[in-house]
Amino acid sequence: MKLKIKQQNYLLLGIVLAILIIWLWPPASIMVPDCELDGNFGDWRGRSGIDDMTGDGRSGVDFKRVDWALNVNDPRLYFKIERYRPKNPETPLECRMFIDINGNGRYTDKIDKFADIVYQPRNQLRGDVSVQLYNMSGKVVGKYSGAWGDGIQQGGRRFEFALSTEELQVLPAQPLHLYISDVSGRFDNMPDSSDIQWSPFPLVHKSKAAISILTIFWLLSTAFLYRHRIWALHYVWGSVGLCFILILLIHASAVEYALESGTSLILHYVLGYCGILTYIFDQSPGTMLVLIRFDQSWTTISVDIENSGLIEMSIIFCLIVFYPVYRGLNKIWAGLLGVLGVYLINLVRLSVVIILIHEFGRNMNYIAHTVFGRLVFFVLIVALYWRLITRPSLHRTGRKIEGD
């Protein structure tokens, strides 16, 4: 590749900077540490969960709270169950988690599963947990066990476990319904009415080495296309490549968590101001509980990769930064304006989704998320693209032609 010395220096500087940024990029764990199955529950503080009232179950099976969580690069769903302190801390707890895998509200379909969970405080410090996952024909599809619970000293209250998404047959973003009951089903259910809805999307983060290699290759090839003035390929390759790199870098990092936390925080306050009650969590970025108006029950919505607007923000930034209608620093300003535009549009989209769920209940979730929210998003995004891409192109071309 024949580059002038000055251009070579810029390229080298670009590569060094890119590598530095990639390696210093803040990982997700600095915002939210991973959950570990170790019988210690500090890592559950601030996680998403639902409380259950006291006194609606007999001692030992009176549930207090269930929390759920995901780890980065871990295809398992984590749960923590807590009961009100039993009179005798050695009392074992046998309960069952019912999981409606296809999210249709029925728990008896062939694909649905249930897990029998036994918690037995073993000694002063630890309690044993064993979980057997069954399909609807009663066949065991997964077995998990470990010292994952409180000991007698802590009152025999809490335990944690994780279920494999593969054994559950859960695909990313698949809406699940679940609830927990004592094994007889007669005493306490958690939640007391209805169920928990969750669309887990396990976070996958690629290795920094892989992203670095990809970035160096992309920088060199983009510089080649720039040097030889092959503009059409330069634009497509440059913008799409940068977009890939940005998304790989931001996804499952502290930046994504910060974005999702910020989004849910704004929505929480803005919607609260409009009288729509939501609940957010310190350590579960993007997870929101929305109060359904007619039955006063809670349902979850997740501001995750699907609806944080992260992908769309990266796209518009890259499409603008490489678009030849903008020159110099204007590229960056216009790109950032695009990012801000998408962010605001995404807030509108999420508000529409939440309002629909609040008004019409959890059954509205899929339609609100996939159809209504998406349509609002699409229309506003087209308007933004018109403003930031088509309109300046027409303006500049027209001015150039009139100038001729």
Partner: protein, 455 residues
């Protein structure tokens, strides 16, 4: 589990695929509007226009630039017109030909002394200048331009004049352009591309322009065969060189000029003209790049105040731009990003299934397109079209290829000086890599030679 995969795939297709499906829906709805309009107005079209009792003088301007291969066929088609030959004036305007176009013309002139046929020669190349020179020197009541690689149906001029004589509001019109390709004979890649072109042209002219005619929204008076009232064209800026789409530029120019007088730009469906199918992918690339570039140049110049999205939505030009330009960027990013979602955790199976679903959606669009083009054709031609019904399976790929050529046009308009001939980027990269490889080999050989000399 199948149920989950199906549900997830549909969810994925609707949720992420929307970026590719909405542009598709725009195409489908346009096609359906064309079809419905065509079916409703089909019978109206068949009302016979009264026969002419007077045959006004018409001038045909043919710009000639290295057109020796096709000029004779073009001139022959004019001689064979049902319109009286003594009322036709042909002006060939040579603009920088380096082949034997003049000899072709000369032979033809000698063979047809009954025709009024003249040869003007300009020193420099340039289609716009050639057309203008011809239009200025023409004496016809109606002025027509015909490309030298276009030939006319025998009733074309008669039908054009009938249309103008029966509609005093008609200021300018475009004929119906067809691709002259024998259907079903070959199956090479280029043949398939040509079949798609055939369908595309029928759809664009016989169905699309017919609709635009009704809505007074004809976007381009085709450079291959268009006609004007003499007073209208001579009062306009004529063909200008400022854009690569001088025909679209002229169309916008005339529309602006006749807005206040109640005139209109129309389409004469039964004035058929035929063009050669595209000869290579390189030609297709430069043609589509030019069309897209021209669209932005002309509309950019046309808007004195570039509209916001709301104004654009209520303007037919704005709507075309949203569909052709704005959505193209969204589509560009998502064509690559959908498979990329695998890296973010989506199962590859879901993505592959979603792409199959997407292909099926595009297949549905192409089936509607083919059916619309089929209904828009004459019964004789429908028989031929039936031979290539299977082309619908290939048409999504054609649409995809053409889409990328258009994207190149969107970038070129902002980065490159205007030119009719452009090199496609793949060839550019290949040439550069080949040059670098040659430099590398030569360098190695020099080093080897130097090594031997030192030994």
């Amino acid at each position: 589990m199948t149920e989950i995969w199906g549900e997830r795939t549909i969810g994925f297709l609707i949720f992420w695929g929307i970026w590719l499906l909405i542009p598709l829906l725009v195409d489908v709805s346009t096609c359906l509007v064309y079809l419905i309009n065509f079916l409703i107005n089909r019978n109206k079209k068949e009302v016979e226009k009264p026969e002419l009792t007077f045959f006004p003088f018409v001038t045909l301007v043919i710009p000639v630039h290295n057109s020796a291969d096709t000029l004779r066929k073009c001139l022959k088609s004019i001689v064979n017109q049902t319109y009286p030959a003594e009322n036709i004036q042909i002006i060939c305007v040579n603009n920088g030909s380096e082949d034997n176009s003049f000899e072709v013309f000369n032979r033809f002139q000698n063979a047809h002394p009954e025709m009024s046929i003249a040869w003007n020669s300009l020193e420099r190349a340039g289609k716009s200048i050639a057309l203008n020179a011809g239009l200025y020197s023409g004496a016809g009541t109606y002025m027509m331009n015909v490309d030298a690689d276009t030939w006319l149906d025998q009733h074309a001029i008669m039908n054009v004049v009938k249309a103008f004589e029966n509609d005093p509001t008609l200021a300018a019109a475009t004929g119906s352009i067809r691709v002259d390709k024998e259907l079903g004979e070959g199956t090479s890649f280029l043949d398939l591309i040509n079949y798609c072109e055939v369908i595309e042209y029928i759809l664009a002219f016989d169905v699309g322009r017919r609709y635009q005619d009704l809505k007074d929204a004809v976007f381009t008076l085709s450079g291959a065969f268009s006609m004007f009232r003499r007073d209208i064209i001579l009062q306009s800026f004529l063909y200008q060189t400022r854009t690569v789409s001088e025909d679209t530029d002229l169309t916008f120019n005339i529309r602006k000029a006749i807005e206040s007088s109640g005139g209109r730009i129309g389409f004469v469906a039964d004035a058929l003209a035929y063009v050669e199918p595209i000869e290579s992918m390189d030609r297709l690339y430069s043609q589509r790049l030019r069309w897209q570039r021209g669209e932005i140049e002309v509309t950019g110049a046309y808007y004195s105040d570039t509209p916001n999205i709301f104004r654009a939505l209520f303007d037919f030009v704005g709507r075309i731009l949203i569909s052709d330009h704005t959505l193209a960027f969204i589509r560009m990013a998502w064509t690559f990003l959908l498979p990329f979602l695998y890296l973010l955790g989506y199962p590859m199976g879901v993505i592959i299934l979603a792409f199959i679903g997407m292909y099926v959606c595009y297949l549905m669009l192409e089936t509607i397109s083919f059916y619309t083009a089929y209904k828009g054709s004459e019964p004789d031609y429908q028989k031929k079209m039936r031979r290539i019904w299977w082309i619908v399976f290939f048409m999504p790929l054609y649409r995809f290829i053409v889409y990328w050529f258009r994207v190149a046009g969107m970038v070129a308009v902002l980065t490159e000086e205007k030119s009719w001939k452009v090199q496609n980027p793949i060839t550019q990269v290949k040439d550069i890599l080949f040059d670098d490889y040659v430099d590398f080999v030569v360098g190695i050989q020099k080093m080897q030679r130097r090594g031997k000399n030192e030994q």
